[in-house]
């Protein structure tokens, strides 16, 4: 598993399921975990799901991507209570998760990855 893992947080569980499949094609050695939708499977966000996804990730350093604002707030709250190192990106959800995952698989250093993600900042 690569040093950095990827965490996907979306309002909808199908979105993170589909995105995970897309990323796994290009990043089979990267730990990718996700939290999609509310606790009971509806559309929204869940602190518990995010926390579980952070713990389930096989890396201790995580690059986190999210779709809309409330996903971000839950991510930030989990970041405050976990021992893992989480870097949150305010970048285009799908496109930046893809870019980061492909670059992690290719062994590109984290500073270079962050540079590649900068133009994707939209939130």
């Amino acid at each position: 598993m690569s040093e950095y893992g990827v965490l996907l947080v979306s309002h909808v569980s199908e979105i993170v399921e589909g995105l995970t499949a897309l990323l796994k094609e290009v990043a089979s050695d990267v730990s990718i975990t996700s939290a999609g939708g509310t606790d009971d499977g509806g559309i929204g966000s869940s602190f518990d799901k995010v926390q579980a996804a952070v713990e389930a990730n096989q890396s201790g350093k995580i690059l986190a991507f999210y779709d809309l604002g409330s996903s971000k707030m839950n991510l930030e709250m989990v970041k405050e209570v976990t021992d893992k190192e989480i870097t949150l990106f305010d970048t285009a959800f799908i496109e930046s998760a893809y870019t980061a995952s492909a670059l992690l698989q290719a062994g590109v250093p984290i500073e270079e990855i962050k540079k590649q993600l900068e133009p994707l900042k939209i939130k």
């Binding site: 606790d39 559309i43 929204g44 602190f47 604002g69 409330s70 707030m73 930030e76 709250m77």
Partner: protein
């Protein structure tokens, strides 16, 4: 002044009011958001009620912390982390000085602003918490003041949250999170906590 009993009573009254008005909360959220604030809050307060009835509490801090975790976990929308952060901060402040209600609510208000980064005028629940804190500091909190704060969100243009995507089209609608915060403070008064 808050006590363990009065705090639980307050939060129970809040739950009832939310449950009773959940359709209205969702209606407000339909106009400028995704239409789920009522369902979110009802789910959250139901979990909070359950958590509050399940154990005995040693301190107000304990009550607020328990309520916070339930709301955080179960609301399922932006208001989850926001109410969760508010009550966590209030719990911490209550642990330091349980006698100063204004400071406790202030802590909650600060917690919301820290979490959501909204400022007064952004058309969010902050626009109710801030005036309420001011009123509490002057010993003047009343149902009218609360209603006015909620109503004053109507002409604002949203700068945060789902409503902010609508820009000018958010003007002319009451902010749903402000309405639910209005219920929180109305029941604070109703619960004889003051």
């Amino acid at each position: 002044m808050l006590t363990v009993e009065s705090t639980i009573k307050w939060l129970n009254l809040f739950s009832e009011k939310v449950e009773k008005n959940k359709d209205y909360l969702s209606e407000l959220d339909q106009a400028i958001g995704d239409g789920d604030h009522g369902a979110n809050m009802a789910r959250g307060v139901a979990a909070m009620n359950e958590a509050l009835s399940n154990k005995s509490f040693d301190s107000i801090q304990d009550v607020l912390k328990t309520a916070a975790m339930a709301l955080l976990s179960k609301i399922g929308g932006a208001s989850g982390p926001l109410y969760g952060s508010a009550l966590i901060a209030m719990a911490k402040q209550a642990g330091e000085d349980r006698s100063d209600l204004a400071s406790i609510i202030q802590a909650g208000s600060d917690g919301i602003q820290k979490r959501g980064k909204a400022e007064p005028g952004d058309k969010t629940m902050v626009d109710v918490w801030v005036p309420v804190v001011n009123a509490l500091k002057n010993n003047k909190l009343s149902a009218d003041i609360i209603k006015k704060a909620v109503q004053d969100t109507e002409p604002l243009k949203a700068k945060k949250g789902r409503a902010s995507y609508l820009g000018d089209r958010s003007i002319g609608h009451i902010d749903p999170g402000s309405m639910s915060s209005g219920y929180l403070f109305e029941t604070l008064i109703e619960g004889d906590t003051l």
